[in-house]
Assembly symmetry: C2
Homo-oligomer: 391 residues x 2
């Protein structure tokens, strides 16, 4: 299969690129390497040592020859070039991982909020137009986030509002016919980053309906972990643990290996979907090999299971202590504005029906701790605690 | 009251500016005059002769002295300047009419789509950040569009999903408790322009919830007419009739005065909300003088009534024939992708409760025809028929 990976130098993008090439697919990667720059600007660095841009390119070219190519473009600012790249490569699937991925980063100031929405929304808009003009039969596999939904008091469907709505058991026991059936499920995102993904979702839905494009919009949970295969230790993907680009479990694990208390934001009863990196890759491959129909816009809620932050902190504590690490948990003021106790029940059946076998979170967290332990001296403690607040 | 009018050189903005000044309010107008340029680029011009930018400024300054000021800024591209303007003026209300307003224009090509979303979304985002930083107690009166909703098969509320949903009588007779109650009503917009307004709506909702800003999001129907007061004949606002910037009734009236058949897109059973310019101004003043609570995000569905395009064409025909004009109706292929027969029942009670007295559409259309008849030789027939299609 010919796959274009947008954001091929990123946390998931680089991992996916390698897996696709190893499986014999042709990959064109596109990246502007902004993640490296932004992590550096906030004073952090990948905990795992990663190759330079040039080294990565040479390594992959030497191993996979002409099956691999990489291009340096900034989506949303180079339409003609991106369109030409798509036209000449004619990908069967475009995996779009090239968005500014940090909620706290988008909340720092006006400039960051505007850059996030500009890059993400216009970047995706450009991909849609380019597909329409030069590659209308490709499958756009777009990474959204479970955070688009917020925490509504009803079951979150995978896609449109269903014919029958199911309310939270505490205050809506009945199942009712829904006159809004078939409309897009309402979104309640909680940051300018999450909002940018909601804007994307609306634009993609329209492009599929209006132009007959095909897309899978992945509402992905929070990803953790640093590799896909057990024998990958010599070439781990990047691993961020700072307040901006480090996500919850990754940050907890970085804290655990240096003996820093795990910092839970607020009550810690916030519940979200989570999945290990290897499950994310497994799911993306399943979506790729089971594409949507022509003109179809479909939604996958992609996560292994839902967990409260307190549960995750306890799992990290437990697995760390098994490895002889002494770890405590500390609740700190929540920098975000979010409900700290809430109903949460998102559907996630579609990927299972396609064959998704989920990993065991305990094993994955133990493996992650083992994977990053050799790099504990690289942790910069200054960047772990939150500085940016929502208000 | 101190009011900042963003888009003060536009169709509604210029009218509102004059009405506010006449009522004794202080107005700072902001515009980049892009409407003039864009109408010119598509080969058209305001049917009504309007003053040059400089003449308008001088006229208003001479009449209203220091109560009026005008600034030339492009929203979304001059954050520091816009913020400083808001900080120094300290408006009680910011009326935001400064968006690219044309659905067909946004569908011409990638560049127009991207410009529309960039200008509208980032422009509004900048206003929100500036309000938060330097004027958090102001009321943001933002012009959205009824087109954000699309044409759902249920009653469209004014605001969030209500506790009880009412379905279209044809297939959902029952009223049911709704587990999604309190979530934002789902949007199904039909162009990149309409999508930009939906993105704004999500951003504004978040800013109110997160920062405690106050906003009225006006879901406005399609506006027609060219003046507010009967004695305004010497200084009409701009009037566009081209396929891009001319809206349905205005375009029909321009066709009527030159004996061109009224061109109805498709079946003409598409139903939308409409209102005359003077009602739009009346409603904006009502919203201004009855501001939302601190931290409140509220939605007004702003239109006089709903009409099918066929009904409107018939009214224009009838009123034109009363004036001795001979007018026919012609159905042409629909350039847009939209349902041509559909259920449509939007609530619009909030403005009436504040005292909105709606005008009579027959009188308004007759007045409009009389107002523009003197300028019939200025119509450029080349720009009336649709060239841009949705597919």
């Amino acid at each position: 299969m010919k796959v274009m990976v947008l954001g091929s130098d990123g946390y998931i993008g680089h991992t996916l690129t390698k897996v696709l090439l190893e499986d014999g697919h042709m990959v064109t990667g596109v990246d502007n390497y902004s993640r490296r720059g932004r992590v550096s600007i906030v004073g952090s660095n990948s905990l795992t040592p990663i190759e330079s841009i040039m080294e990565r390119h040479i390594t992959l070219r030497q191993k996979y020859l002409s099956n691999y190519n990489s291009l340096n473009y900034t989506l949303g600012k180079s339409y003609i070039h991106v369109k030409e790249a798509i036209r000449s490569f004619q990908p069967e699937c475009i995996v779009h991982l090239a968005e500014q991925p940090s909620a706290p980063w988008s909340m720092i100031n006006n400039r960051n909020a505007a850059e996030t929405q500009q890059e993400n929304v216009i970047g995706t808009l450009d991909i849609l137009w380019a597909m329409r003009e030069v590659c209308p039969d490709a499958h756009l596999l777009k990474l959204g986030t479970m955070g688009e939904y917020g925490t509504p008091n009803c079951v979150i469907p995978e896609g449109d509002i269903p014919g029958r709505c199911i309310g939270a058991p505490t205050d809506h026991t009945q199942v009712s016919d829904c006159p809004m059936s078939g409309l897009p499920f309402p979104k309640s995102p909680g940051s300018f980053y999450h909002l940018s993904k909601v804007h994307d979702t609306h634009n993609i839905t329209f492009a599929c309906k209006n132009w007959g494009l095909s897309s899978t919009d992945i509402m992905q949970g929070v990803v953790y972990g640093v590799k896909v295969n057990p024998d990958e230790n010599d070439n781990l993907t990047r691993f961020d643990y700072d307040e901006y680009f480090g996500t919850a479990i990754n940050r907890f694990c970085a804290q655990a290996i240096i003996g820093h208390p795990l910092t839970v934001y607020g009550k810690g009863k916030q519940t979200r979907g989570f999945l290990p990196l290897k499950d994310s890759i497994q799911c993306l491959l399943l979506a790729m090999t089971n594409p949507p129909d022509k003109g179809e816009y479909r939604v996958f809620n992609q996560f292994e299971d839902i967990y409260s932050i307190n549960t995750l902190a306890n799992i990290v504590c437990h697995e760390a202590s098994q490895l002889g690490l002494n770890v405590s948990i500390e609740h700190i003021p929540n920098p975000r504005k979010e409900m700290e106790e809430h109903y949460y029940l998102p559907d996630h059946n579609k990927l299972r029906k396609l064959g998704y076998h989920s990993s065991n979170i305990h094993n994955c967290i133990r493996d992650l701790l083992i994977d990053i332990l050799p790099y504990k001296d690289r942790v910069n403690k200054e960047v772990i605690l939150p500085v940016t607040t929502w208000e």
